[in-house]
């Protein structure tokens, strides 16, 4: 397999000008997306790493796209901060660029929002080898076309991301979790729907099929007891309270529940879609963020079921001819693609 490494902005530009078709790879944690197809050269960006700027008081950092999330999370944590969109696969070596390109958020996106809500700026190399910047390095900015948002979920279609800037927040002082089982799936779903519309400021609200809710709260230790109590009253169930819940949610975030599955997918779900999804032959799975985000492990039959029902999804790992379904809407996507990658060097050509 032809492969080239780029450890600097100049080397990325050089690679883009030299090879007709490129497939960027961060660390390869989502191999369905980062494994080159016939005729593509692998562009290994794992050397393009390091945090460039971080001012904790500004709630902003800028890092090279190939920086492992683990390094970023550790640095933020040392200053009591975190990535509120809670990206998955950190332990498996996911990079900042790969996470943006795949458009992935984790369980705690429930509280403040997903990746799209926290990305502030990008510097990327387009298909002509030009360096383009979009957005900025401040938490608020409305100048120019927001190329940074275009990168989210793009699978690298418009260019190779080199630098990314993000907004971050203070990590909760303390956390607690509540695990509540229900007799029937419908009851669990009804409880989930009820909680979604209440001002409870949950850090995470997961539905674990068939009928368990896992809820995480963050805040002052003094208030958490009362808030857990209120949840128990609302749900009319004691459930199980986790006082030490960090390890549990780290496992969820790293999608540990998918481990044995040959195919991993992300499915944008919604509570009203859950009954339909639950009728399909899906493997281990969990609905995150109030039911809005499903990560599921599948075998080929499950993947086929998603296709047949025309349910949008993205394959992260495992064999798939077309990891992204459906393809982006042509009338808007194609002109932008043509503008930034006229020679079709990058994926989604």
């Amino acid at each position: 397999m032809p492969e080239v490494r780029a450890n600097s902005l100049e080397e990325v530009r050089e690679a883009v000008r030299t090879y007709p078709r490129l497939r960027p790879k961060g660390g390869g944690s989502k191999p369905a997306l980062s494994t080159p197809k016939d005729g593509e050269t692998l562009l290994d960006l794992s050397g393009l790493r390091g945090i460039l700027e971080y001012a904790p008081e500004e709630f902003v950092f800028t890092a090279y796209a190939g920086t492992p999330l683990k390094e970023i999370e550790e640095t933020l944590r040392a200053h009591g901060q975190y990535l509120p969109f809670h990206p998955p696969l950190v332990e498996q070596g996911a990079t900042l660029g790969g996470t943006v390109a795949a458009g992935l958020s984790g369980p705690m996106r429930e509280r403040f929002g997903g990746l799209r809500d926290f990305i502030l700026g990008v510097r990327f190399v387009d298909g002509e080898g030009r360096v383009v910047r979009g957005g900025g390095k401040v938490v608020k900015n409305a100048a120019g076309f927001p190329f940074h948002r275009l990168m989210v979920g793009s699978l690298g279609a418009f260019g190779v991301m080199v630098e990314l800037s993000f907004k971050v927040f203070p990590y909760p002082r303390a956390t607690r979790s509540l695990k509540v089982g229900f007799a029937k799936a419908e009851e669990a779903l009804a409880a989930l729907e009820g909680l979604r519309t209440l001002p409870l400021d949950l850090l995470a609200l997961d539905l674990v099929p068939p009928a368990t809710l896992e809820i995480r709260l963050g805040g002052f230790p003094e208030s958490l007891e009362k808030r857990i109590q209120r949840l128990q009253d609302l749900l009319q169930r004691e459930g199980e309270v986790l006082r030490e819940d960090e390890a549990h949610w780290e496992g969820v975030k790293n999608l540990a529940f998918l481990k044995e599955s040959p195919i991993w997918v992300k499915v944008p779900s919604r509570p009203d879609l859950i009954p339909l999804l639950e009728g399909l032959p899906l493997g281990p799975r969990r609905y995150l963020a109030g039911g809005e985000l499903l990560y599921a492990g599948l075998d080929p039959e499950g993947l086929q079921a998603l296709r047949e029902r025309a349910i949008p999804h993205l394959v992260l790992r495992g064999k798939a001819d077309q990891p992204l379904y459906p393809p982006p809407p042509e009338a808007f996507f194609a002109p932008i693609k043509r503008a930034l990658d006229p020679k079709g060097r990058f994926p989604l050509g």
């Binding site: 958020s105 387009d126 979009g134 938490v139 608020k140 076309f145 275009l150 519309t197 809005e292 808007f332």
Partner: protein
């Protein structure tokens, strides 16, 4: 058939305006220093009519500008001379409000505040709250990625738009995004938000609604200097609190607010408003920490709202501040720029110096939590040369923001007003990429021609000037 005849076939007489007197209200937006006479204005009532109008423009090569309520402060909805204005105010229906899904599907002419009003019975609201929210439309908010006082915590409009139906400048209708918070594939709806109407017209918008916070804790603190108020903001941030809003007003802005709405503010050099919100148990604890931080910040006076009425009273003066400045000066320019929060003090000091140098008063009202400055440059348009001086001063402030590592605009957009400053913030290759995208989607350059991208279209010329 000519363009106008074809328009007449599409729109009945009352919804196609061509007479001088009818066109006058559409000649400018809230940046009234700029005026342009359009060829015609159409008032569509259904999205199909918008699509037909755009297709007609494409066939005849006539430039068009979509318009909401015309409250843009950067000349965003300024017509193109001889072009068409597509005024969307009549498309003001909330098509669907689904509390379970926490979404509202709206037409572009729906007024921002109306969404929250309709969502209120379900305990939900629409979070982005520009001060213009009683009049500005969701379509305009989408085009400008509008913000408000609560951006640090909840983000700007882009984060609250889940899907868009758009007609491209070449007349194709596309749906971007979906009804949930997550999607797969490039975030095209996120990209459309903030492109100021250059890439098409939003026909239908799916908005995310949030549960209305259970409890608020709103505090007003008075300081003997802007610097002291700014330091208090840094201390709040360092304490690990994440308030919903942090706003600062200086003496001149306080005076204006008092003159206009008698907010009952203390007459001091600087006021800081901090608002905490969330579940009541959490807000109680946060309030204790905030009290301690504010005490250490040596505030001259502290008021805490004990009721919703008192909370509204604290906000009243702040929300009215822009228009209130009209009480102090015949004319003024509302500037909008961003600096990194830690450089607010430096920026304000420099603005003070510039104000002295130019001999013009500058009132400061700003979103301190996210470093978004709103200096109001006061001038008298009847005095020869004052407008030009005011514009120059406002321009100096923008350059200062960029120099300090910030942005040309936090929320009011580039429009025509700031397009010549774009090269200060963006490199030629950045601008070229924007131009190429624009050209690929709009080969004839019809949608909002002459905005955002520098050196494009005819430069705006100053017309009649008043605030």
């Amino acid at each position: 058939m000519g363009f106008l005849e074809e328009l007449r076939a599409l729109f009945p007489p009352g919804r196609l305006l061509t007479k001088e007197a009818e066109l006058a209200p559409y000649e400018s937006d809230a940046l009234t220093a700029y005026r342009k006479r359009p060829l015609a204005v159409v008032l569509p009532e259904r999205k199909e009519e918008v699509v037909e109008a755009v297709r007609l423009c494409y066939r005849h090569g006539v430039p068009f500008v979509a318009r909401g309520s015309g409250t843009s402060l950067s000349g965003g909805s300024l017509p193109v001379e001889g072009g068409l204005v597509i005024a969307l105010n009549r498309m003001n229906r909330i098509l669907r409000l689904d509390p379970k899904a926490r979404i509202a599907v709206v037409e572009p002419g729906v007024v921002n505040l109306e969404v929250s009003r309709q969502a209120a019975p379900f305990g939900l609201y629409y979070a982005p709250d520009p001060s213009s929210q009683p009049i500005s439309t969701i379509g305009g908010n989408v085009a400008f990625n509008s913000g408000g006082a609560h951006c640090l915590k909840y983000g700007m409009t882009a984060g609250h738009v889940l899907a868009l139906e758009v007609v491209t400048p070449q007349g194709e209708v596309v749906r971007l995004g979906g009804e949930g918070l997550e999607s797969v594939g490039p975030d095209l709806h996120g990209f459309f938000v903030g492109t100021e109407g250059l890439l098409g017209v939003a026909l239908e918008i799916t908005l995310r609604l949030l549960p209305k916070p259970e409890a608020y804790h709103t505090l007003l603190a008075a300081y003997e200097s802007l610097e002291a108020a700014g330091n208090a903001v840094s201390q709040v941030i360092r304490s690990g609190l994440l308030p919903g809003a942090m706003e600062i007003m200086d003496r001149l802005a306080i005076e204006a607010a008092e003159a206009a709405v008698k907010a009952g503010y203390p007459r001091v050099e600087a006021l800081l408003i901090v608002e905490l919100e969330g579940p009541k148990e959490e807000v109680e604890e946060e309030a204790k920490l905030l009290a301690q931080v504010i005490k250490e910040s040596r505030a001259l006076e502290v008021r805490i709202a004990q009721s919703e009425a008192q909370r509204q009273a604290i906000w009243k003066g702040r929300k009215a501040a822009f228009s209130a400045v009209g009480r102090l000066s015949p004319d003024y320019i509302v500037q909008d720029g961003v600096v990194p929060r830690s450089r607010l003090g430096e920026a304000l000091k420099e603005i003070g110096r510039l104000s002295q140098e130019y001999g013009l008063r500058v009132a400061n009202v700003f979103h301190a939590g996210d470093g978004n400055l709103h200096p109001l440059v006061l001038y008298d348009g009847k005095k020869p040369g004052e407008l030009e001086r005011a514009e120059e001063l406002a321009g100096e402030i923008l350059k200062l923001c960029v120099r300090l590592g910030g942005s040309l605009t936090g929320e009011h957009g580039i429009g025509v007003e700031k397009k010549e400053y774009m090269p200060k913030m963006f490199a030629p290759e950045d601008l070229l990429a924007m131009e190429r995208v624009k050209e690929a989607l709009d080969s004839k350059g019809l949608a909002n021609r002459g905005k955002v991208l520098p050196g494009h279209g005819q430069g705006p010329h100053l017309g009649e000037v008043h605030a």
